[in-house]
């Protein structure tokens, strides 16, 4: 087991290095930080621009490999370099990681809990009205892309604020209001108001996915011998379903949960951008628009690490929960 894990980790480390290097090289070739200075007035002299770009390790007159070596040496020391406006990338990303983390954790917990609940209920009464309803709804939800869903939510919230509540209940932009002076509870309420819509936009899709997944897993388990045995020994259907069927059916779902967490760190990109949350995903879009090579490379490195950590965690979790996997 230890040898297997070590080989796996080594493979992951190589993957991360290659993925990050590819991302850096691609970004450094395709993006053009020099163009950021072109439309400034007054136009800065070429020598000044050159010096500025060289200081940031973004000068396209320096050979690509030399820039790459400087960047890689920095990353090995834990320094992702500086963004196009000279601020350190590390500090910026550290702050943004917190923002993304809060959003993703809440969205994922809501989505998976409600999804598992819906899926289990649907499976318990297969072809009942709830099963049909949830199947139909999840089909519709899976056909709505996040960019459309988020905009529909914003429209609905604007309408509700105007016509139902008559005041701003749902706040559609940012993480919190600036310059609020209402004490602790006021702040909490304000944050909650900002949090509702992005969380809904993240969770709705997850609910659909998790409920389909949980339903199928549950249906596989329901016909199993040990569930029938449990009922034969006198357990009621309800407690047999919860104590025996649901627990077994949750194992693959837990694995899926861990994996989704890793992909969501950048998967929340659209939600963050549309709702104006200053997280990692939003920075990915902004940095591409601003030709910010170092930030692009840093975010892709984080994304790669997150995906690999998540898939490792998913495997370990599966082994921890399911003795049959460990035995192999």
């Amino acid at each position: 087991m230890a040898g297997f894990l070590a080989r796996r980790l080594l493979n992951y480390a190589v993957l991360v290095v290659v993925a990050a290097s590819l991302a850096y090289l691609l970004a450094a070739t395709a993006l053009d930080p020099r163009s950021n200075y072109a439309d400034r007035t007054p136009k800065p002299p070429a020598a000044v621009v050159d010096a500025q770009l060289s200081a940031l390790n973004l000068n396209d007159r320096t050979p690509l490999l030399q820039r790459y070596a400087t960047w890689a040496a920095g990353v090995l020391h834990g320094d992702f370099g500086r963004s196009v406006d000279g601020t350190p990338v590390n500090a910026d990303l550290k702050r943004r990681m917190g923002v993304t983390f809060r959003l993703v954790v809440l969205g994922l917990v809501c989505g998976s809990l409600l999804g598992v609940l819906a899926g289990a209920l649907a499976a318990a009464r297969q072809y009942g009205w709830f099963d049909r309803l949830s199947t139909g709804l999840s089909f519709v939800v899976l056909a709505v892309p996040v960019v459309v869903l988020a905009n529909i939510l914003i429209l609905a919230a604007t309408w509700a604020n105007e016509h139902v509540f008559g005041r701003q209940v749902f706040l559609v932009s940012g993480e919190h209001s600036d310059g609020l002076d209402t004490g602790f509870w006021g702040h909490t309420l304000d944050r909650l108001q900002h949090l509702i819509l992005p969380t809904v936009s993240l969770s709705v899709g997850l609910i659909a996915v998790f409920s389909r997944y949980q339903r199928n897993m549950m249906l596989d388990v329901l016909g199993a011998d040990y569930v029938r045995t449990a009922m034969a020994k006198g357990l009621s259907r309800g407690s047999a379903l919860v104590r025996h069927a649901l627990r077994t059916a949750l194992i693959p779902v837990a694995t899926y949960f861990a994996f989704t967490f890793g992909t969501l760190l950048t998967g929340a990109t659209f939600t963050e951008k549309i709702f104006g949350w200053h997280g990692l995903g939003e920075q990915l879009i902004n940095s591409i628009v601003r030709n910010d090579v170092n930030t692009v490379a840093a975010v892709s490195l984080l994304a790669a690490v997150a995906v690999l950590c998540a898939s490792l965690a998913a495997d370990l979790l599966h082994a921890a929960l399911d003795p049959r996997v460990r035995a192999r």
């Binding site: 993957l15 993925a19 892309p145 960019v147 459309v148």
Partner: protein, 302 residues
């Protein structure tokens, strides 16, 4: 007519009558017997008809601007209303749908073909081929697809959208190829493949003549579901300006523009968004019904 000829004719007719139905007809029969399949197919056909025949009946083309009507609601002159630029929403939306449908179909075809070839080669040859394919697909899974597509987006301008399709397809094939690889490893041990191998058929020929056709049901379903994934990815990228580049339009760019004016001019947003959702829903219904048709054991008992 002599007796033997008559017998022969009789035999021929009997042969026609007792010939088992072909697999394609069997699948098509099962597919169209399910309500889901019928509905999905009908809606999808309607969407194609609308996207490609609709512009013929509309008085406006997607390039026309009506300078007497800016941001007007739907009317007999402009069926879906007009945009801020005076463009006809009906014409522009259909143009966007054409692009989204074509991009979706092509990207799905390319990615499924890629998945089939890569997975089958990896599973058949194992060893170094397998390790290389697995490693490359792991690498592509780790790289954020959105990032690579977004960085490459300046290259997609000026009518070079086929490049966009290929890049998009490059990020859709990995998971399927892993499934194909697993199935190839088990198919490889079947008698007809071993027979072919002992008869000296070259491995590449075995893969294309025997292995991949035997996985066709998986691949067809996968290609169908990939169409919806590709359309959704294309829309999201175009929404942020990283996909289809102007002057070309796609549903994504339309939704992005429409969402800015949606509060006071709902027609600029809802037609494009609605048609997108209906199209993707229809594709998913067709894919699901196809899966049931190929594998009756997974279908709901009724």
């Amino acid at each position: 007519m002599t007796l033997s000829e008559e017998e022969l004719a009789e035999e021929l007719r009997a042969d026609v009558l007792t010939r088992p139905p072909s697999r394609a007809r069997l699948i098509a029969g099962r597919f169209f017997r399910s309500g889901q399949g019928r509905l999905g197919f009908a809606v999808l056909a309607l969407m194609f008809l609308l996207a490609f025949a609709g512009p013929l009946v509309s008085p406006w083309s997607y390039l026309d601007k009506d300078f007497t009507a800016f941001l007007r609601p739907p009317s007999p002159g402009h069926w879906f209303g007009t945009l801020q630029t005076g463009a006809d929403v009906f014409a522009v939306t259909l143009r966007g749908m054409q692009k989204s449908l074509i991009v979706g179909l092509l990207a799905a075809l390319v990615s499924t073909a890629l998945a089939a070839v890569a997975g089958a080669f990896a599973g058949y040859f194992l060893g170094w081929t397998d390790r290389t394919v697995t490693w490359v697909s792991d690498l592509l899974l780790v790289l954020p697809a959105f990032l690579v597509l977004a960085i490459m987006s300046p290259l997609f301008g000026a009518g070079r959208w086929p490049l966009f399709v290929i890049t998009l397809a490059l990020f859709l094939w990995m998971v399927t190829s892993k499934v194909v690889r697993g199935m190839t490893i088990s198919t490889k041990e079947r008698e007809f493949i071993q027979a072919a191998r002992y008869m000296g058929v070259p491995p590449v020929r075995i893969i294309f003549r025997h292995v991949i056709p035997n996985l066709s049901s998986l691949l067809i379903v996968d290609a169908t579901l990939n169409v919806s994934t590709a359309i959704l990815t294309e829309t999201s990228l175009s929404y942020f300006g990283f996909g289809i580049q102007p002057p070309d339009v796609s549903l994504g760019t339309l939704i992005a523009d429409g969402s800015r004016t949606a509060v006071y001019a709902p027609w600029t947003f809802w037609f494009a968004a609605g048609l997108l959702v209906v199209t993707v829903l229809a594709v998913n219904l067709v894919g699901d019904a196809l899966r049931d048709a190929f594998d009756p054991s997974s279908a709901r008992p009724r």
